[in-house]
Subunit: 352 residues, 2 copies
DNA sequence: AGAATTCGTGATAGCGCTAGCAATTTGGTC
DNA sequence: GACCAAATTGCTAGCGCTATCACGAATTCT
């Protein structure tokens, strides 16, 4: 079942079939109809390998992410994958395991296979990796955060700004001794922490002993441990801002174990607005990010670039939004706007 | 940078280079050394497309899973991916969205690209899909569960048996009116439910009003809703066996909200032993399954098959094990073995 | 009217690699 | 020393597709 079979059936030359499939506009109406009919009758599927070999191009989009299991990236991948299904692009994932060197190796590997485009996470590639991506003659999208001098395109939000926003929210709710709990600090968590630090410093409340971290990857268990640690070191804290919602959930569980009332004695805030956070008791204050949309948008930008219509904006800020919930006291603004007795908080729609 | 460049540098013919790379044993020691040196000096990477075109074979393993975000599959994918990194096999994922028809479409699509092997989930393919896979001349691994007449190979565990085991454990702990909470029932959840039903029937305790389910996919939020529903319908229940740990977590949160003491008034058990379950307060009784190992084993079997050494056992049972925790009363056997006052349960190591 | 351009189609020549066979060398066997 | 089998290397001919150029016919321009 090759292009020649289709050509024979449609009584045209193979090259015309090839054109009808790739650039229908360049083939006359009647031929195109005959060819389409033949393709359908024979259930013809072009051979990707032959196509790639002959044209020195592929329809494979390489995606380099630090982790395949972290919910954050799983959501982005789902967006990428869903959108890819609507084009003829294929997706090839690879796992950098949070290692810039591994990422560089994978960049080399992928580039050697001349993919249609690449998606990488963040802005902290190695120098060599950055140079390769900048020089590459293909669409490149950096996702998850924003920064100056994109290699090509960018879709994300300000991690620093999000860290600031949550910290400001907590200050606005009257918290003063706010601890920061962090698992393995990848570059994005680091920038959130920088946002926290900046706000605390501006308020004259900065204090390094309020910050606890570990090299272990983020998990609920780690959240438990970090909470015990900070409570041992600084029993006077009045809130914890957790790097990630699983840390926050662990912190909440540990509070229950230790008999610490949330939010009365301790406010607990997370980041990323995982599905479980809104359902927890009490529901956990968090910052929602547009992970799925990020994947979709990245693929959209790539699809447009490939057909020669690069997107209007090369850098897209999808923003974030704060989700104040009962695990922290309401801020003054909210308290004014709400009825006295806070009703069961409405749970945002959580679709998969 | 082609095989010809390497051949020129090593002063041999291109075909010898090709052989040295694919079947080193068939090339003499000295030539092999010269060729290896040339490959490294030129940083040569064979063109996958040319290779696939010429040999009518690829090194791509297709993986069809129902979901990319569900932790269960994310863990399996990680195993598959990790192991693939140690061979020269590439992995291509696709998402069936729990639809057998979509799965069939993808089976056709993948087979038309003659992959090196296929991994599919479970035993509930459409008739046409099953026929295609049975006829396919390539390694096929069915994962996640076991069953009679594998297409080729199988790695999993008995979902029915696991459902039985948990239900028996709950009975052994003295629970009698055990509800079953289920989100969208995919075939595997169904078999777990069948295990529950069988044990309840044997004990003379079966009662359809004890079973609640919804079409929504599994989530913590859905766990909350299901718990409210069953408590409204059957306030006399003494335990809930949840389809999945996120349902169990939601049930636990809802118990906290409703003031139901766990495990005194209600035992809560889950399934899959997600990381958060051991860290919850109280820690949630669950059934651990070997998801990562399943992915690794599947890839191992495939790798062996491809080099012509099919694995000794075509069907591998990785089993499961019960993790009794404080969200259910201890069974009689455990109670006898343990000290009176249950210490904080040790948390199993949870590595990522 | 003749030249220049555009349009639609086709012929040719590879893309980089490997299957299959052919040629050569080596190491034994009778 | 002639002969055979095995081991080693190389040649030839594509795999299925597309880039490039070529060609005639239709269209536009001067």
């Amino acid at each position: 079942m090759t292009i020649a079979d289709v050509a024979a059936r449609a009584e045209v030359s193979p090259i015309t079939v090839s054109r009808a499939l790739r650039e229908p506009a360049r083939v006359s109406e009647p031929l195109r109809r005959r060819i389409d009919a033949a393709v359908r009758a024979l259930n013809y599927v072009p051979d990707q390998h032959a196509r790639a070999l002959a044209s020195a191009r592929t329809n494979v989009v390489g995606v380099l992410v630090p982790s395949l299991t972290n919910t954050v990236f799983a959501d982005v991948l789902r967006g990428i994958h869903d959108r890819a299904g609507k084009t003829d692009l294929q997706v090839q994932f690879a796992n950098t395991r949070y290692s810039p060197l591994e990422e560089e190796r994978l960049i080399r590997l992928f580039l050697s296979q001349s993919p249609a485009a690449l998606i990488v996470v963040g802005i902290d590639q190695t120098q060599a990796g950055a140079k390769l991506l900048r020089a590459a003659e293909l669409p490149v999208v950096q996702i998850m955060e924003l920064g100056p001098e994109p290699f090509d395109m960018m879709v994300g939000f300000s991690q620093f700004g999000a860290g600031r926003a949550m910290t400001e929210h907590l200050l606005g709710a009257g918290y003063r001794r706010i601890a920061f709990l962090a698992a393995r600090l990848d570059p994005r968590s680091n920038r959130r922490m920088a946002g926290y630090r900046a706000v605390m410093a501006e308020a004259g409340l900065a204090d390094d002993s309020l910050m606890v971290q570990t090299k272990a990857p983020s998990s609920v268990q780690v959240g438990c441990e970090l909470l015990r640690e900070i409570m041992a070191r600084r029993p006077d804290i009045d809130a914890v801002f957790c790097n990630n919602d699983d840390i926050a959930l662990g912190a909440l569980f540990e509070c229950q174990r230790l008999g610490i009332a949330v939010p009365e004695h301790l406010g607990v805030a997370g980041f990323n607005d995982f599905e479980m956070s809104a359902a927890a008791e009490p529901p956990i204050t968090s910052v929602a990010t547009e992970r799925y949309a990020m994947g979709v948008t990245a693929m959209d930008m790539i699809a447009k670039s490939i057909i020669g219509e690069p997107p209007e904006h090369k850098v897209v800020d999808l923003g974030f939004h704060l989700c104040p919930r009962a695990s922290t006291r309401p801020s003054r603004a909210e308290a004014a706007a709400r009825p006295r007795k806070p009703a069961r908080p409405k749970v945002a729609k959580e679709t998969r």
